[in-house]
Symmetry: C2
Subunit: 340 residues, 2 copies
């Protein structure tokens, strides 16, 4: 390897290594003259700080990790992309860890993961972000975290998405198309986002002055298969709903499948739409109408907040950027007026 160390720089610049350390860390008490001289040597020698040495001395690795156990691979993938982009810009490594939300030893496993990597910042994806037992452990270990879309929106460690509005507007859109029997496939009951969507859906129906038929609400779990199952239930009802809105795209694609299997024409005989706008929406036929959630931006934002937090640059007044992201209706091929 023979990489350049802080000692090499110190020797070449004729200063102590502590002074070089000061320059690297942008500390204030360094004369302009010294700073310039040291910077010149740093560039000349191509010095790069060894993150391990720093981590050991500071007792902070500055490594961050993404903890996930999410049933929608497309969602996770986009989130990951956004996070990675931020990490890349900030010269930060991202560890990945696959959890099993249902594991009885989940918290212990995560603790072990942290001990193995010394990650000192975590990004938590639902449903992990709502697990109090996990949050307690992290607090105890002084591991920082940012939660994606969790329950209480008021705290400063969250980045989330306006799920109520997303479902509300999507339902409004279907109502505008003159659909009356609109069914809704719920997400996983453990995840707050599912309840938010449900609220949006109910509000929209109520605001339109329609009495909601509770039969049209079916439990799902955010997985493809649960979408298929929910569709099977709904498509057996009489009268059959003319539109099905699923709480995420993964399930909406499941609905699409079951409808196709029964020979139901989409969108002529059934409108189908989802929420999230994952890449799957433009792969299936017909392309799925969805409510875009800026997943990339959410991931980027979460990573950004976490990194700033770790670096101590506490997101202050100059911290532009909201932590609750808005949605956008993307009309594609899977929705139309009923009976056409």
């Amino acid at each position: 390897m023979s990489s350049v160390t802080i000692n090499d720089v110190a020797r070449h610049a004729g200063v102590s290594k502590k002074t070089v350390s000061r320059v690297i860390n942008n500390e204030i008490n360094v004369s302009e003259e010294t700073r310039t001289k040291v910077m010149a040597v740093i560039h000349q020698l191509g010095f790069k700080r060894n993150p391990l040495g720093m981590a050991l001395a500071k007792n902070r690795s500055l490594f961050i990790a993404l903890l996930a156990d999410n049933p929608s691979p497309g969602y996770l993938q986009k989130l990951q992309k956004g996070i990675l982009q931020c990490c890349s810009e900030e010269h930060m490594g991202l560890f990945l860890y696959d959890c099993n939300y249902r594991s009885p030893t989940l918290v212990y496993e995560i603790e072990e993961f942290i001990d193995n990597t010394l990650a000192d910042g975590l990004i938590l994806v639902p449903p992990l972000s709502d697990k109090q037992e996990l949050l307690d452990m992290l607090q105890r270990k002084r591991v920082r975290y940012i939660r994606i879309g969790p329950k209480d929106q008021d705290s400063d460690d969250c980045v989330s998405f306006n799920g109520v509005k997303a479902a509300y507007e999507m339902t409004q859109y279907l109502l505008r198309l003159h659909h009356k029997d609109i069914a809704f496939v719920l997400g996983h009951p453990d995840q707050e986002s599912s309840h938010r969507c449900e609220r949006g859906f109910r509000n929209a129906i109520a605001d339109a002055g329609i009495a909601l038929n509770e039969q049209l609400l079916v439990q799902g779990y955010y997985t493809h298969q649960s979408g298929v199952d929910a569709a099977a239930t709904l498509l057996n009802r009489t009268p059959r709903p003319t539109a099905i809105l699923a709480a995420n795209d993964e399930m909406a694609v499941g609905v699409l499948y079951e409808a196709h299997r029964r020979g139901i024409k989409i969108p002529e005989e059934l409108s189908v739409c989802g929420i999230d706008d994952i890449s799957l929406t433009t792969k299936v036929w017909p392309n799925l109408t969805s409510m875009r959630q800026p997943i990339n931006a959410i991931g980027y934002r979460a990573a950004f907040k976490l990194i700033k937090k770790l670096k101590g640059e506490v997101a202050a007044s100059n911290d532009s950027g909201a932590d609750i992201f808005d949605c956008e209706l993307i009309v594609r091929e899977s929705t139309s007026q009923p009976g056409r």
Copy 2:
């Protein structure tokens, strides 16, 4: 934090910290008595070695990273899953890095990533695994790597998939169904796997004694859109092929889309199949017939080999497990005899 250090253990056990270090590292020259005593203290105190201290002293972080820029998200996702499982078992952290294969500064960016994380082992996914310039840099930096599915199969740092056989057998399957006009959508010309599949396809056609119509080979790039485009070209030809085999599922799903858009019934009027068996195959309608590549196992195997390599336990005679994985035909709903 106040974690237990090697010094604490040494004090409690009444030995030097070097001896504790010997016990931790399973070195031979430690008396049974001492080893037992130290182990007891380790368990009693809940000591865990600090990986950063070790990394600094040994100049080896034992961190590994997955470098990827693959056009099929489903493929990457499965691979990632397999890798993570192995990492978890081996108590190893996995860094993630998104590359842009087309970036002119790719190698430099990767070098910077390594400097930032000090990863000393890498898993390279196609098309990265064939980039000689990158391999040279890694060699120079003494960074170990395992390549997934690269060009030269003879070297010991590869884990790959029998693409020739996969395409050969899939084509045979279509021939058995009495298809005559079988089209093939090629993968990205920069990736060896594409050429392997092409060879398999050509061999199968030749072995069946059929003169291949070169018009039925269309260039793709492993992406969904390239599958759509290839299908558009193929479905305009007269006579129209009765079956389309794509070099990966991502493209096959694109073919499916284009066929649906044109109102072509699948599989009655057109059989479609792919290679890889990613999760997408069971989400689209109809479910896609595919040649299963044990992507999970490949990922696991790659991580396993890399970790053993880093830990110095050079995969020797006791290293069971092949490095070229075999395929398996998974017949689903998208293929049938022509004209039915």
